[in-house]
Amino acid sequence: MSLILIAPLAVLWLLFFAWPMVQLVIISLQHTNFMSAGFVGFQNYINTFTDQTFWLAVTNSLSYAAIMIPVSVYISFTLACFLSRMSKPWRNTARITFYIPALSAGIIIAGFWKWLFHINGAVNWVLGASIAWFAQGITAIPIIALISITGSLGGTLIMTLANIEAVDPGIVSAARIDGASWRQIKYRILMPTISPVLVMIALLAWINAWQIIETPMMLAPQDYAATLTYHIYRQGFLFGNYGMASAQAVILLLIIGGLAILKSKVKQ
């Protein structure tokens, strides 16, 4: 009986997750173009490691992660702590408001960001400058990282706030009576107590950083701002090089999974 209950999910998992995973590895060992395929062993991996644009994409993804992980964790935590002391209507309004950016299809709203940072756009107007914000990685990457954070902030904020609300109020008021300041309560009590959810937010940001694709595609479709996922997409679907793209996707999975396994080891 219980097997029937999980059967639909199992079938979908098998067809659209497990089987593609196996295929990914097989394709990564082949030389492919639009017409034919042939087994080449680890040649795609060897070619990948000598490919400059691959390393650039890896560095870019790490830069995205370096911005997104601390900023998401910090904003979610600070905002949730602040909201936990507000009245219920405030909390609800904030939860709804911060979730709204997640609703706007990234690819469409990109038009707005493009205009905002356009050479004749509002940001340059305010600064009195004429900077081409998306013409180099050093400015494009932080902007795209911040856009991605606005998209995920709503969810992480709701989760953090829920975890703070679940903290035993007795502990907090006991600390109060002992004369602890709010700052001490925040960092000495709340932060350690809800650290599992903060670690999870960091992990989500880590995964996100590697797979940003729509914003660079619309705003800076160049190597200097490409994440590894976008690089793979271009290899595969623009240049028709499925073999190389799959080899890089396997490497991507190893990188992302590596940290996840590390995290579960540390926890034990």
Partner: protein, 270 residues
Amino acid sequence: MKKVWLIVLMILVLLPMWFMAVYSFEDVQGILRMPPRIFPATPTLENYRYIAKWPLSGWILTSIATVIATVFFSVVVYAMAGYAFTFKKIPFKGIIWAAFIAGMMVPRMSLMIPLYITIRQIGLSGTLAAVVLTSIYQPVNLYLTKNFMQQIPKSIIESASIDGATEWTILYRVIIPLALPVLTLVALFTAIFVLSDYVWQSLVFQFGDVKTLVVGIMKKLMERGGGELNINPLGRQMAAGMILIVPLLTIFLIANKYFITGISVGGVKE
């Protein structure tokens, strides 16, 4: 004082959406004007009239059908699986659970190439089924559903089964009503995902006339020129975006109570 900062931050977060609405009613002059206006100076329906010439109704119907199908199947699939993983004995439960959840660590985009090939192999390329079937497996939904269902007392299910209720009755009469917040969450996540998952859908609907709204809009927006005077691509893009986002926003504002309960209870880590 701190409240002021909160309000400022909330306004900042809403600005893109606000300007999307404003610019959908602006003409070219209005968009180029600095500083930008908070309300359109001379509101015009020009952008909406322009995009009305696109085969929008077909795309909208396709999107509605895709969303309804995906949401329906997702809710059923996760209600069933969540029930089984929370309350039932399953052989090799731990291993199966780990295998299902492993997908959380696998960006969907990295599987695009084999997924694309799989879809072609089973002859689903260019069909709605390709989008529906590939969009249901979202491990985070399973995770949240199970987390939420754990707070349903086991005694309720035991007493229902002592009263002679079948598994399906329990699922339909007990589990689904009690897990409604998290199932609303699953439904909303799925709807948002399916409506905005451009990259994958643009591969599925690469050829042929069938298109979802987001794919159709982007294809039109990326078509070059046409020698028209007075073009206003941003205005059109924002008008098209409104068509996509207004329904989503409406559903979200109606369902937000359930949604927030779902994410709050499902997301509390013990």
